[in-house]
Each structure stands twice: as C-alpha cells, then as structure tokens.
C-alpha cells in the first residue's frame, strides 16, 4: 500500500519547485549580466541591445515566465520558511560555532531572498519604468538607457545600496545554485565538491559581472 502524498505539497516537492523556479532566474541573471557588459563596449551597443531585446513579442513571453517563476519562488520560499519554523519550534539559546558551524548564506536564504525581491522591484522602477530618454541610432529612435544608467550610478548612495544588494545576490546564488542540484537529486559523492564549486563560481561571475558596472560608471564618468 502506498500512502497518500501530493508531490507538490510534500517537503521534497516544494524544494523541487523552489529549485525549478530558481533555475529560471539563475539563467536570467547570467544573461542579464552578460548583456549589461555591452556597457563597456559603447553607449550605442548598449542601447541597441536594449532596443532589440524589447522589440518583438517574445519579450512578453519571457517576462511572463520570469514573473511566474519569481512568484512561485517567493511563495514557496515563504511557505517553506513558515513550515520550517513550525517544525523547529523553539530556537537554541546558543548558535553552533567552530566545527559544526554552517555557511552563513545557507542559513539566511529567506533574509537575502526578501531583500533581493525588494531590490528587483526597486530596480524595475528605476530602470524599466524610469525616466525615458530618447536617442536616435542609425535612424531609429530608441530609449537612451545608457544615459539613465550613468545618471543613476553617479549617485553614491545608490551605488552603495546597489553593491550591497548584489553581494546578497551573490550569497543567494552561492548557496542556491548548488542546492538546486541537491534538490533535483543530481548530486552524488563523486560530484559533490565540483557542484559546490560550480555554484560558487557561478555566483561570483554573476555578482562580479554586475558589480563592476556601477563601479566603472561611478569612478570613470
């Protein structure tokens, strides 16, 4: 006899979904970061890239998938946190140190997750829904995102806040990427260390790639 159990509401299923929804954003942040690197090429290249990306209908599909997966990720995150807090009940008086201490990032996913969520919203407000500057490149009128970026990143307060959020994103990814493999069941003893390393490297590439932009803009412009 097999006991009744719904995959999606089981603790394992919830983590699976957490990983799957996270995966979409793991891919997205890398693509986004790589695209942003055009900033270093030229203002023109950057703006053209932005323009091409947003023209056409495929963007709506992508945005839909991103919104859907982010919502799922956030909801699952909240549900899991509530469930886990309930399972734990009372917290310890003393936290483990030394030999049995766990990585900070792994213990605090809901914390940086929440901040990243607000950052994403604020980021959208600043850029996607921010001031519309216009520019004409090769005869086509398009949004001058470059100008906006330079303007925003010349504010030291914004740059610092942005940097902090990106560091948190790095932390989030440093645990999340490897953890995803674990939740999917794609891990074994032979590959465990490599997978952790891949997660760490991925997080630093994304985080670092994003970070150099405001620093570059702030100090060079």
């Amino acid at each position: 006899m097999v006991r009744k159990l719904c995959f999606l509401t089981s603790t394992l299923g919830m983590k699976y979904l957490m990983g799957a929804s996270g995966l979409i954003w793991v891919g997205f942040v890398m693509a986004h970061m790589l695209g942003n690197l055009l900033l270093f090429v030229s203002a023109e290249a950057y703006n053209v890239y932005g323009h091409n990306l947003t023209s056409g209908n495929i963007i709506y599909l992508v945005e839909g998938a991103l919104i859907f997966s982010l919502s799922a990720h956030v909801i699952q995150g909240i549900l899991l946190t509530l469930k886990n807090r309930k399972a734990k009940g009372t917290q310890y008086h003393v936290q483990a140190a030394g030999n049995k201490k766990t990585p900070w990032a792994s213990r605090t996913m809901i914390f940086h997750g929440t901040i990243i969520l607000f950052f994403v919203i604020y980021h959208l407000i600043t850029f996607k829904f921010g001031t519309y500057y216009s520019v004409i490149i090769n005869g086509t009128e398009m949004r001058d995102l470059y100008r906006l970026v330079v303007e925003v990143f010349s504010n030291p307060v914004y740059v610092v806040g942005y940097a902090i959020c990106l560091l948190l994103l790095t932390a989030h990814l440093s645990h999340g990427v490897a953890s995803m493999f674990q939740s999917f069941g794609f891990n074994n003893r032979a590959h465990d260390k490599k997978i952790r390393m891949v997660g760490l490297v991925y997080a630093f590439i994304v985080g670092g790639g994003f970070l150099i932009q405001p620093i570059y803009v702030y100090f060079l412009n």
Partner: protein
Amino acid sequence: MASTKAKILNLVLKVWRQSGPKSEGKFVEYPAKGISTDASFLEMLDAVNEHIIADGGDPIVFDHDCREGICGSCGFMIDGQAHGPLRSTTVCQLHMRHFNDGDKIVLEPWRAQSFPIIKDLMVDRTALDRVVSSGGYVSVNTGCAQDGNSIPIRKRDADEAFEAATCIGCGACVASCKNASAMLFTGAKVSHLALLPQGQIEREERVLNMVAQMDKEGFGACSNTGACSASCPKDIDLTTIARLNREFVKATVNKHNTDQKLGDG
C-alpha cells in the same frame, strides 16, 4: 591511565530544566567541580547528578545507554552544537579533555516539534521509528530467504550501502538542522536499501511511504545547510539526501505513469 596528562577541571553548567512536555522550561546553573579530564561528558554529568541528589535536588535527566557511541540514545546540544564540539562523536564519547578549566557550558535538549521534550535533556524520538515502520525494510518473512551468496553484490555498492546503514538514529541531524528536517535520517535509510538488490522490489513504495510519514511527523524541509552531516556521529554523507530526492522524483513519476495506465485499463 593517561596518568601523565589527567587534569582536574572546575566548570559551570547551564542546563535547560523542564519537568514535562507542556511545562515551562528554564536554564539553571550548576557547578561541576573536580572533574577529571579523562572522564566522558556523561560521566561528568553523573558526578554533577550525584551532587544534586546529595543536596536533595532533582537530578538532570538525559538519555544514554551503551556509552560507546553506537546505540544512539544519548545526545543534546553542547554550546549550540549537537553532540558537542567534536565531529564524528556522540556525547558519550566526548571526553572532558576537550574543555578548559573555568568553562561555562550550555546544555540544551534537541529542539524539534517532532521531538517533544520528555524531561530536561531527554526527548521523544519515536517519530523516527514511525518513519522506519512506514517502509524502512525489505518485506521478507523468516524462512523465505535464499542462499546468502546467490546474489552477488558489487563491493562498491555493498560498501556504500553499509555507510548509509551506519546511522544510529540519534536524531542529531534533526536537532542541528534549523528546519528540524529528517532528510538525512530518511535519506540514509532509503539509500541503504536502494543500493542493494534486496531492496529493489519495494524501492518505489518505500521512498514514497517514508517521505509521506516523514512529512506527517512534521519534520521540516532540507535547506542544504549541511548542519546534519557535520553533526552526524557516523558521518553520513549529505549526498544521501540527493539520493532521497532522486528516488522520490523517480518514484513519483513512475507511480503517476502506472496509475494512468491502470486508470486507462
């Protein structure tokens, strides 16, 4: 023994005292004087208890039995670490030479909703037994067995199964996990049998049932912090959890397909 190195310690214990599952608990401090560094942690507690009894008090209750690190009875948090500061060690095998004179040591019971406190440092871990009874076995009746050597098992698989099977069910994984998850325990059991040919027949039902029971008991989800494996006195590997996830997904998909087929028929 260890005559040349034995020293005497004076310590202070800050112990969680709670008279029953529903009562309010609190920390109480006790002096632990004249403790030999050769004594085990539990022997130190025995000595403290003898003093408490002599003073007309109620001794500190804790679970313990074999005192050689294999029965899984003992276990509590020492300064926030399950089974204390040493890796691959149960409390009963932790010796006082790892502490310093004058230390103040905080003792707390395993914390998890599924492990209600019975008294002081003793908790009820029968939830783990119920997870086992939901499927952690091979359904072979006495007398049905074929010759022990009729199914050769690759040494690598046998060794890996053995390593998963070394779990002593102490509950340190649940206790050290911030989510009170029992994934390492369940993962170890599932891995042990999934790796052996004897476990194949019930492989899918086993994982589905054990996960269902694990959830029913109210254990949390895995956040992959690794606290469980770091605290495990038998060093059960974190990747047993990955295997549990893998087995669970495969079993779910297969069950879904089978149900569909049966439904169509």
